[in-house]
Amino acid sequence: MARIWMFGADVNTDQIVPGRYAPYMLSAGDDLRRYPFVEARPDFAPSVQPGDLIVAGPNFGCGSSREYAPLALKLVGVGAIIAPLFARIFYRNALNLGIPCFTADLRAQLRDGDQVDFDLATGTLTLADGTLLNLPAPPAFMRAVWAEGGIVPYYRRYGRFPGAAQ
């Protein structure tokens, strides 16, 4: 089962990981896993479980180019992020790190703390009452990057960028 973590609109990267908690700023031995939503939602990092889902309003990830924001979410095991619109740099960083992002608005169907079953391969959520929610299929190149676990393993395997002539 995956827990739903619900967030509002315009969640910026300073909320996901404040610049004061960048790896550049941390003491040796400290761990970025402690800091996703450290100020915006302090209960998140201590209790998030691998596979949990973030469901948010539009413009998720706006602001800084800091890849350590999606990296922190990856390190704690966030299974996917679902929002009606993603900010550009966050979306790209998340793809590069192999974090599935689905463009859909599920705020009316889900509540914070809901437990669901999530099948990444089919993009299907199964709610506690059995209701099925189907996420829109991402482009094939995006699935290919997810399948490799991110753009670096993708590039190392194929020797080219997604969509480039083979």
Binding site: D10, D14, G19, Y24, G63, E67, A87, N93, N96, V152
Partner: protein, 427 residues
């Protein structure tokens, strides 16, 4: 018919491309800064397995995000970056005190019209000040660009801002940028290239105010039409196409634009300054890639000349670059600011990211000439950040509350110190 984004990306792709296409492009310049360079270097060598950057001459490294270092660990990381720059034979390292990357790379002539510039900083849209396609990317994309000299992207649609007329006294590019955020909202230009037209009278510094604010409406790039640029060589193929296709056009009559202010805690939460009420101010912060240039300091000095900050107000000035600082020192602008009671930080990003050089305490109110007022951006999540022009910031420093410049300037209207023609006439 091509937009600026399509023209620049067509050249970078080596073939005509149009909005909506996914393309692989050659980059002209890659910028990385101290905050992310350690992770970029790690991905480049340890994950991608590349030993060398593809072309050292097309790489620029800037120590600006925590400059000078505030902790031993940052100092060690900066030391490692300097060693890496030497080992890679990268000729362009701009170290502590030289200034903010986007400002410096234009001053140095490294970022030029028509180029595709990628940087490890979201305000890399700022290169659009000289009609380059600048875009911010994360650690992995920058590492891939360093390894290959290329990146991949979707050619963006374009949102066009068309300005008419001239600013009223006390109103400047920042007010236009905030007004556009008010109209488009934080996601109104997501994934689009924002083109700015009708601003031929602006110096490139004021154009950078608009180019850097383009990311705050979601822009992938923010390109100011190159007409009127004097210092930069604009390639003949880069031109305004009257037939270009825009996803949206926003018209603005500058003559009716009043000072704007962005209210905590989102950039697009913008109102007319006169509608904000009486808001007491603790800190006035003048700096950043958005409004930390010589013209911004000169505009503030014009208001502060011969006066003192209101009791209890601190004013921190952090120039965008050493050149801006030198210019302000040479003509008395800096002396005017210091005589008013302002103090000075090392050119660079300063407290914009809440890391050093003036971070805020809970409940403190800051008037900030920068570009983000997110909760916690400049320190405590309990602080309140209002984004405003240098003119409004200076006026507020004199009264201790958010203030329109005309309230504190005896000989209104102010002379124009910003446009190149006006600056030349005053000199």
């Amino acid at each position: 018919m091509p937009t600026f984004a399509e023209q620049i990306l067509s050249r970078a792709a080596g073939r005509p491309v149009v909005a909506g296409e996914n393309v692989v492009v050659d980059v002209d310049l890659v910028m990385l800064h101290d905050s992310l360079a350690p992770s970029i270097i790690d991905v480049l060598h340890n994950q991608l397995g590349a030993e060398r950057v593809w072309n050292p001459a097309q790489v620029a490294v800037v120590i600006d995000h925590v400059a000078p270092a505030a902790t031993v660990r940052q100092a060690e990381q900066q030391q490692q970056v300097r060693r890496w720059v030497r080992a890679q034979s990268i000729p362009n390292l701009f170290d502590v005190g030289r200034g903010i990357s986007h400002q410096v790379l234009i001053e140095e002539g490294l970022a030029r019209p028509g180029m595709l510039v990628v940087g490890s900083d979201s305000h890399s849209t700022g290169y659009g000040a000289v009609a380059a396609f600048g875009t911010g990317m994360g650690t992995t994309d920058i590492a891939l660009a360093l390894a290959t000299g290329q990146t991949w992207l979707r050619v963006p649609e374009t949102v066009r801002i068309h300005a008419h007329g001239r600013f009223q006294p006390g109103v400047s590019a920042k007010d236009l940028g905030l007004w556009v955020a008010r109209q488009l909202r934080a996601d109104g230009a997501t994934y689009a290239s924002v083109e700015w037209h009708g601003l031929d009278f602006l110096a490139w510094g004021d154009r950078m105010t608009l180019a850097t604010l383009s990311i705050e409406v979601g822009g992938k790039a923010g390109i100011v039409a190159p007409a009127g640029l004097t210092s930069a060589d604009v390639p003949s193929w880069l031109r305004v196409d009257p037939q270009a296709s825009y996803a949206r056009t926003l018209e603005c009559d500058l003559a009716t634009l009043a000072p704007q202010i962005s209210v905590p805690h989102t950039v697009d939460n913008v109102v007319d300054l006169t509608d904000v009420g009486r808001v007491a101010v603790d800190v006035v912060y003048l700096g950043t890639c958005t409004n930390g240039r010589y013209a911004d300091m000169a505009a503030a000095a014009q208001i502060l000349r011969g006066r003192r900050l209101a009791p209890g107000v601190r004013m921190i000035v952090v120039p965008a670059s050493s050149m801006a600082l030198e210019q302000a020192a040479a003509d008395g602008t800096l002396a005017t600011l210091l005589a008013a009671g302002a103090t000075l930080g090392t050119p660079g990003c300063g407290a914009c990211i809440g890391r050093h050089m003036g971070v805020l305490a809970p409940d403190e109110v800051c008037v900030f000439t920068g570009n983000r007022n997110f909760r916690g951006r400049m320190g405590s999540p309990g602080a309140h950040i209002y984004l405003a022009s240098p003119e409004v910031a200076a006026a507020s420093a004199l009264t201790g509350y958010l203030t329109h410049p005309r309230e504190v300037v005896a000989d209104w209207p102010l002379a124009d110190v910003r446009t190149p023609a006006a600056a030349a006439a005053l000199a």
